[in-house]
């Protein structure tokens, strides 16, 4: 079962078989590499999960901020705001677990080399807090080897 949600963002929701880590549905989107669509893309995901996930607050805040950061990184740094490129979003979710994958076409980066934004010498910088926030707002963060795809997991009992 698959149905279009927003034509502009090419979002699709599909039921997936119960079993694997309790996921029940999968939402996929091909997001244009434009900063202006980030908020709408985040809202589409959050709206679908709010009614389904056990903890509404986690969706309202942690998920929104973390997904917004991942999309920003993918659109700005990964795809360099190239309108011909899309950011691929795949969100698998059940009542207790959400797994969000955000992938771009960039060359990737080394997450371990991102400086700590809370060090005194970095505190007054305008940027460099995105990945730091993601790490604090979700329960698990993984990258693929190339560093152009991030996977963020939220779990609640």
């Amino acid at each position: 079962m698959s149905q279009p949600l927003r034509s502009q963002l090419s979002a699709h929701l599909a039921r997936i078989g119960a079993g694997e880590r309790g996921f029940e549905a999968e939402l996929t989107m091909a997001v244009p590499s434009r900063i202006a669509v980030i908020e709408e893309a985040v809202e589409i995901v959050a709206r679908h999960l709010e009614a389904h996930f056990v903890d509404r607050h986690t969706i309202r805040f942690n998920l929104r901020v973390a997904l917004s950061e991942a999309l920003s990184n993918a659109i700005i740094y990964g795809n360099a705001e190239d309108p011909a490129k899309r950011v691929r979003v795949r969100v698998r979710f059940g009542r207790f677990t959400v797994e969000m994958e955000v992938a771009d076409d960039g060359v990737g980066f080394s997450p371990d080399r991102v400086p700590d934004p809370t060090l005194p010498e970095n505190l007054t910088r305008d940027d460099g807090r995105g990945l730091f926030l993601i790490r604090h707002l979700v329960d698990e963060v993984r990258f693929n080897e190339r560093g152009n795809s991030i996977c963020m997991i939220l779990r609640r009992a």
């Binding site: 202006a36 929104r64 901020v65 809370t118 910088r125 460099g128 730091f132």
Partner: protein
């Protein structure tokens, strides 16, 4: 999402963030404050009472504005952060950089 600005009786420019402060609209807030700074305003209060969430770009623009306002001898204060938003400032240690009040009223009386 909008930024509503009003001037209070003591000359503080109060800007309400209605919605999100994120990468998609941070430039709008920045320009609004820089224009006001250019026009001679020196006291600024950003009120987050009606704000949903802030991302790292939103935090970054506040850091940048705070530096520019201070360079001009002005004062930037923040107010109305709910528990989640306050957590963002605490995690990033930006709570040590900004003057944060519970309510807009508290912030106004601190200028």
């Amino acid at each position: 999402m909008t930024f509503n600005a009003r001037k209070d009786a003591n000359g503080v420019l109060v800007i309400e963030v209605d919605g999100q402060l994120i990468v998609g609209n941070r430039q709008e807030l920045k320009q609004k404050v820089l224009d006001a700074l250019e026009a001679g305003e020196r006291k600024f209060l950003v009120d987050f009472t009606k704000t949903g969430y802030i991302d790292s770009s939103g935090l970054g623009v506040l850091v940048s504005l705070s530096k520019k306002i201070r360079d001009e001898g002005g004062d930037l204060r923040l107010a109305g952060l709910n528990e989640d938003l306050r957590t963002l400032f605490e995690l990033t240690k930006l709570d040590t950089l900004f003057a944060i009040s519970d309510s807009a009223q508290d912030a106004l009386s601190a200028f």
